[in-house]
């Protein structure tokens, strides 16, 4: 019985310390100021949609002083007429830099170079425990128009658990841990919003609307910053502006036809490069490619669309061996492809 007594004393001390802690830190920054500052790092995104139950808006967060915006990869981005509205009401047409198909994230860039934007620092990561109080900032229901700040909901982290969810009939790709919260954080339009702690530090990115595969109820959750920060860094690096296409293209370039695969019809500005079909006996089939695979990388460069894939192939000689990464059932699969194909292997 001695140990529990000591434990109790220790806990009591901890409790007092945490109360003191709360007093001191919040005395420095009132919650309303924390919220106001966080709101300036969250943007409203307007794009495709507008049909029944397909909202034409979502949310994003600024992650660099030069105006990189991280958001959820969704149909909203499938338009040439995408607009990002900043907290101050300014509207910009962003550049689409790339996406992370597993976490369903997309990276956009504001077309501004000479300005330093308020942003969340992904390198300086904060984490939270079950029971911690959190704030969810987003453009849910598209309520905030013009220069109105995004909405803020409060709650606590109720679980940190693997995401087991579906969208419609399909299971979601991401299966790792997420922060589950008791705030109604993931309403229509909230995807891409920020989950922050009471100091305004980014804990995670609000996910897309999904339902639990077990209970069928809507989930309120966020992807922890740690789960996507390295992927986002790769996206940022993959978009090294120093990269330039080769000055001379090969005489005979690779084509999808030569590889024996057909992409889905290219109907959107950024059609995800899914395979529609694989020809029997083709190099693609021998390499193990299948219909419905999503091509993510070719030769180490990220591929965001059908168009980008076709362009990338033109840089490669038809005899060249290329490494292709693809997404299948939530798993990343890497294969090597060669058009002449005798030695293709997985």
């Amino acid at each position: 019985m001695i140990l529990p007594k000591k434990l109790t004393t220790l806990l009591a001390t901890l409790v007092v310390m945490s109360v003191v802690d709360m007093f001191s830190c919040a005395a420095e920054t009132p919650l309303s100021d924390v919220i106001r500052s966080a709101q300036t790092k969250v943007v409203k995104i307007f794009g495709a949609g507008g049909l029944k139950q397909l909202e034409a808006y979502q949310t994003g967060i600024l992650i660099s002083p030069s105006g990189h915006v991280l958001t959820a990869r969704s149909y909203v981005l499938d338009t040439d007429d995408l607009a990002i509205v900043l907290d101050d009401g300014r509207s910009f047409k962003p550049e689409y830099l790339g996406s992370d198909p597993i976490r369903e994230l997309a990276l956009l860039k504001l077309p501004i170079e000479d300005e330093s934007f308020p942003h969340f620092d992904l390198q300086n990561q904060a984490t939270a425990q079950v029971g911690d109080r959190v704030l969810a900032l987003s453009n849910l229901y598209g309520i905030a128009t013009g220069d109105e700040p995004v909405s803020v909901l409060q709650g606590a982290i109720t679980a940190i658990a693997p995401l087991d969810a579906r969208r419609g009939a399909f299971a979601t790709v991401y299966r790792d841990n997420v922060y589950v919260v008791d705030a109604y954080a993931n309403n229509p339009g909230a995807a891409g919003g920020a989950l922050v702690d009471w100091q305004g530090r980014l804990l995670g990115l609000l996910g897309k609307e999904v339902k639990s595969r077990v209970t069928g109820t809507w989930l309120n959750y966020a992807l922890p910053t740690a789960s996507f920060s390295s992927s986002v860094n790769e996206l940022l690096a993959g978009h090294d502006t120093t990269w330039e296409p080769p000055s001379q293209l090969p005489e005979q370039s690779l084509t999808t036809e030569r590889l024996g695969m057909r992409l889905v019809p290219d109907v959107l500005p950024i059609t995800p490069p899914y395979l529609d079909a694989v020809r029997t006996g083709s190099p693609a089939e021998k390499a193990g490619l299948r219909a419905d695979d999503l091509i993510v990388f070719v030769g180490g460069r990220q591929i965001a669309s059908c168009r980008a894939l076709l362009e990338e192939l033109t840089y490669h000689d038809e005899r060249e061996e290329i490494e292709v990464s693809l997404l299948r059932d939530g798993e990343l699969v890497v294969v090597t492809l060669q058009a002449e194909g005798e030695h293709a292997e997985e």
Binding site: M22, L140, P149
Partner: protein, 594 residues
């Protein structure tokens, strides 16, 4: 701020204790804070009303704002109830209540609980001071759970302020509302949103749901209490009140630049000098950077309100006072709300019963005979309800008319003034003026000459003296009201309080309509003095505004000695009355006619 902190601290203590199972031994100051919150909620709960339709079919929530039983709720809560409803308080008592006034556009209604003069009331807050991140709580009757009339309380955060929610259906519009994640469910409608100190900051009424069904998903809206404060006296008038419009439209040209893209030439804004392509800078004290911000600000004002407008043209800034026209034609408004009132607020499950078309041949009785009738009005309500088209409850209007006018006549000894008046006095430069009125005509002598007006035909051409906007006609109608009284003057109603003068002082406004023109009697709310007259000959013209001051005794009557007459943007005259003779003080004199 300290309070939020301490709440947080308390929360942490509670959480950790629960998590570890360790004995709870919270610091006394934390217990004191908890006790304070319990007290705040207890006080708020006492003022919270559970509203039930008389037949028990539906209901909602409300909140008491005065000890004599006036309570706020939503229009969509009272619309299906008709004139009377049952209201439960957390003392366990059920009270009869009567509808007083409705604002169908703003979704607000005022009802009065009957039977006590000492109802517990909510303290009104200032919703313009509410910030995102402030704590708030709702008190109400979600899902009509309050069988014993104890309200459900839900705690949350202010998620957004100055939100605009587009009209639902034809009428309803939530402008400048508060957004909260405290739970607002069906049945919470009409109930209070309180701040952490228990001050009333809004009336809950809407939420965003879409594909999420009809239960709270963290996005509820409350009509701001500051909007309602402007409407309260209008609602107490028993009228169906309307919101304001502008007479012009705007668009956001670029960020921060809102310009007029269309304007009606017969609106007040046009007469005050606003033109196409002018930039709107401020409206009612608010900076306007988007068209939406203007819509948000405008939506909180009643028809006829006067607000300052700042606009800019060619680098020059203009400040004017704008009279806001109505959003709806009055008849249109009445028709629209009748349509709405026929629909229950929460549709019953299943298909509505249809009357049998072949009822004569049918062996079944007419289905309508099987439906319970709306119960007769309770006695307490009967004596406080009068149905008149255009009013939610004409009884309250009549009461206010009588209170204002009888107090005015009695206090100033104005009986028997007759219709022959002779006034004389001085102008600012010591020149003399004279006004003579009979029942059928009037004239005014000034150093510039003599002008007259006939009161026997159409009034709209009798607006002399020129440049006054109808001074003689205004005095004639004032005289007529004193002579004939409320019953025989013509159409009379109490409008509510409107701002007046450069300071926007609120004055009680009694309206009389006779011969196609409107006269407004403006009273000081505190002592009931008549301090102004406004003659409005037509919707598309400026009124003749007369401000009274320096009340003096003329033949035993208390009457204003200083008159300022204003028409449009110009002062027509400053009159100092030193002689005022009427029929009453010279019984046999026929004077006045030339």
């Amino acid at each position: 701020m300290i309070r939020i902190l301490t709440h947080l601290g308390f929360f942490c203590v509670a959480l950790q204790s629960v998590a570890t199972g360790a004995p709870t031994n919270p610091a006394p100051e934390l217990l004191a804070i908890e006790q304070e919150r319990v007290g705040v909620i207890a006080k708020a709960s006492a003022a919270t009303v559970a509203i039930f339709e008389s037949s028990g079919q539906g209901g909602g929530s409300g909140v008491l704002i005065s000890p004599d039983g006036f309570a706020l709720t939503n229009f969509h809560v009272v619309a299906p109830c008709g004139a009377a409803m049952k209201c439960g308080l957390n003392d366990g008592q059920l009270y009869d209540a009567v509808v007083v006034g409705v604002d169908p556009v703003g979704d607000v209604a005022l009802i009065q609980l009957l039977g006590r003069e000492d109802f517990p009331v909510a303290e009104l807050g200032d919703s313009d001071q509410v910030k995102v991140g402030d704590w708030a709580f709702t008190a109400g009757n979600p899902f009509l759970l309050a069988d014993k009339f104890h309200p459900s309380i839900s705690w949350g955060m202010i998620s957004g302020v100055h939100r605009y929610q587009y009209p639902a259906g034809t009428l309803l519009e939530y402008a400048d509302c508060l957004q909260t994640d405290a739970a607002i469910n069906p049945g919470n409608s009409g109930g209070a949103l309180f701040d952490a100190e228990g001050r009333l900051i809004g009336i809950n009424g809407r939420g965003s749901f879409e594909k999420r069904g009809r239960v709270n998903v963290g996005v509820g809206y409350a009509i701001s209490i500051n909007q309602i404060k402007r409407f309260v006296t209008h609602l107490k008038s028993g009228r169906i009140v309307d919101h304001a419009s502008l007479g012009f439209t705007v668009s956001t040209e670029e960020l921060g630049r809102v310009v007029v893209d269309d304007i009606l030439e017969d609106c007040d804004a046009y007469r005050r000098g606003l033109r196409y392509n002018d930039q709107i800078v401020r409206f009612a004290g608010r900076e306007i950077r988007t068209a939406n911000a203007l819509k948000t600000a405008l939506g909180t004002y009643p028809r006829d309100w006067i607000v300052p407008l700042v606009f800019r043209r060619d680098g020059k800034t203009y400040s004017v006072q704008l009279r806001l026209p109505g959003l709806h034609d009055p008849a249109q408004l009445v028709d629209l709300i009748q349509q709405q009132a026929e629909q229950p607020s929460e549709p019953p499950e299943g298909k509505p019963p249809k009357p049998d078309e072949n009822e004569d041949e049918s062996p079944l009785p007419n289905i309508r005979d099987l439906m319970p009738d709306k119960p007769d009005l309770p006695l307490a309500v009967q004596s406080r309800y009068e149905e008149v088209r255009g009013y939610a409850n004409y009884w309250y209007n009549q009461q206010r008319q009588k209170q204002l006018w009888e107090s005015y006549l009695g206090k100033n000894a104005l009986e028997k003034m007759g219709t022959n008046w002779q006034l004389a006095g001085a102008l600012p430069d010591d020149d003399r003026f004279e006004i003579r009125l009979t029942g059928t005509q009037g004239e005014m002598r000034m150093p510039t000459g003599k002008t007259g007006a006939l009161f026997t035909g159409g009034f709209d051409s009798q607006l002399s003296p020129p440049g006054s906007g109808g001074l003689l006609l205004a005095v004639h109608l004032w005289q007529r009201m004193i002579d004939k009284g409320l019953q025989q003057f013509g159409e009379v109603y109490y409008l509510g309080q409107l701002p007046s003068g450069p300071e926007g002082e609120l004055l009680d406004c009694l309206v009389g309509i006779h011969g196609g023109v409107e006269i407004r009697f403006m009273f000081l709310p505190d002592d009931g003095d008549l301090v102004g007259l406004e003659l409005i000959p037509a919707d598309d013209s400026d009124p003749c505004e007369i401000r009274f001051a320096d009340f003096s005794e003329f033949s035993g009557r208390r009457l204003p000695a200083r008159w300022q007459v204003k028409y449009g943007d110009k002062i027509f005259a400053e009159l100092s009355v030193d002689s005022w003779q009427t029929d009453g003080d010279h019984p046999l004199q026929e004077g006045g006619t030339n």
